[in-house]
Subunit: 347 residues, 2 copies
């Protein structure tokens, strides 16, 4: 039995790269993937910020792209050497939920890094339901497109899910709340879907500058009531048809209700750090819809992939730092300190 | 100046029928309508249950159908003698919100019974924005269809709005929460839109019996966790695609999240008696949408009217008691005590 390196989280602020056994096939539907690129997600920062200390580490990371090393006997669509990307939730892609495009509710799926399933921030990963989970990419191991293709794991489909569920299309005005990697991806997705006006709410100039390159027509750096007023000023007092909430805090949801136009839709893809949202009589009288949720990335990869391959979008620009596996703890620290937008990992 | 009778609310439990001046045209866009039928709404029971006592009465009632007595100089689409129905919110029906079908957010509209505008539970009503607000009905003053036509003011379009915003259509499974007049109207609307299965949650047998006649395929009388379990049992554990929340209490919203299928939609049309709803990480992971709001009844009347005129639906069956104006206080009491489902008023 061989060994490899992988990232484990022991608690708040305590991420370690340790030696673990190489992954092996458990089920005939598994594949083993050698990781070419992985990354740190904004949602990894929630346990990094708050997980109680424990004496054993949990595998972490749910975004990766790699090369198939070995496929189980029941895996028919993949072979050793294929370059593949994994969505941030694994799924059989054949059950009724998957066929409806809701692979996050797959009847035989699950999450990375829990219940004996590997995390993505390591040298290799055992992939359950490999046929359903992995998508083959028509590129080589050294493609310059790898960073953008890696975003198909999570942030780009998450931004897209937010825009799609909000109903963004031509003639739609959009507010995007949050200038993290998901917020910027939501800007890109809204632009790609034809939104005529995209207001980005964020206060990190380097990030909002990238947001403008991704398609934001306006940037509002104010927050809370002042931010709401600014967006209303930009829209003749009415607010925007759709709001893409890419933060996950209740303040952001409140801001979303403040800047959405009557009859409009707020979509949330920021993992909620709250239990309740304010949907009172006032929101009711304005017919505001709250939608969104965890993005079924797998459902969108086929649609988004050609735009990356043909260079029409470059979502990988959200990566502003690259580290090796040994530097993953520094990568977490940099993202938590907001000195890095999103950290790419080259094992 | 003549006088007439109208209903005023002085506070919780204190509804009085008093003599008030006859309505007159104020604006050239007004009309005066003599009321043929009005009714008490479930939402009138909220102030009836909780309004602080005051020394002056406020006009009340927002559902009525009547005859145009006089129309202002700028009213072009109506003439004296026309039988008309009024939606429960008045609107110009020409602004951008109205053209989008959101007359409840009309830029020049408002509510009945506030800011000097008459309530509907009286002998006559001054109707602002009469051209936009009123819809002419091709029936006589003594039509047997008046009760069903009166439901176009509120409960039938409200049930319809709930079903439409939830996305009910053929192959949709539906849970309706609440066996009041709106809940039963939602059953009727869901059936009309082709829903294949309609589970009605309610515990008043006389009401749920009418619900079955309106199209409910299953009735669940249990509430809370037990009710959720029953609906899940009926749907192979999954819940229904859509949930129509017709109560307005947070318990009903919680039940709705409990019985909705992953990826499904909860629509709420019960006027919210709560400020927050539980939309935590679990709801997020299941991609549940919360939509609905106050129904723009005006937007739906043209579509729903033919089905009433041609006898395909009989929404007026929700009225199980008729009173004269002098008996309106008894009507309120009967609805508050749940001895009447919905009270029709013949002034």
């Amino acid at each position: 039995m061989g060994f490899m390196k992988a990232t484990l989280i022991y608690g708040s602020g305590d991420v370690r790269v340790e030696t673990v056994p190489d992954p092996k096939l458990h089920e005939p539907t598994d594949a083993v993937v050698r990781v070419l690129r992985s990354c740190v997600c904004g949602s990894d920062l929630w346990p990094y910020g708050a997980k109680p200390a424990q004496d054993h580490g949990d595998r972490i990371g749910h975004e990766f792209l790699g090369v198939v090393e070995e496929a189980g006997s029941e895996v028919s669509g993949l072979k050793a050497g294929d370059v593949v990307v994994a969505p941030f939730v694994w799924a059989d892609n054949t059950c009724d939920f998957c066929r409806e495009g809701l692979q996050t509710s797959c009847r035989h799926g699950g999450q990375w890094g829990v219940s004996g399933v590997d995390g993505g921030q390591g040298e290799a990963v055992r992939v359950p339901q490999a046929d359903g989970t992995l998508v083959t990419l028509p590129v080589g191991e050294d493609s310059a497109l790898l960073p953008s293709l890696l975003t198909l794991s999570d942030v780009f489909p998450t931004g897209h899910h937010c825009a799609v569920t909000a109903g963004v299309g031509p003639h739609t005005t959009v507010t995007v709340i949050g200038d993290g990697a998901v917020g910027l991806s939501a800007v890109l997705a809204a632009k790609r879907l034809g939104a005529e006006r995209i207001v980005l709410m964020g206060r990190h100039t380097d990030r909002t500058d990238l947001g403008r390159e991704f398609g934001a027509t306006d940037v509002v750096s104010e927050r809370g009531a002042e931010g709401v007023e600014r967006v209303r000023d930009l829209t003749a007092g009415d607010g925007t048809h759709t709001v893409l909430e890419c933060v996950g805090l209740v303040d952001a949801v409140e801001t979303a209700f403040g800047v959405v136009r009557d009859g409009g839709t707020v979509s949330r893809v920021g993992a909620p750090q709250y239990a309740e949202v304010p949907m009172d009589f006032g929101v009711f009288m304005r017919n505001i819809t709250l939608t969104g949720g965890v993005a079924p990335a797998r459902a969108y990869i086929d649609e988004l992939l050609p735009d990356i391959l043909e260079g029409r979008v470059e979502p990988g620009r959200v990566f502003d730092r690259t580290v090796g596996l040994d530097q993953v703890p520094e990568g977490y620290r940099a993202m938590a300190d907001r000195t890095a937008l999103k950290v790419l990992i080259r094992p």
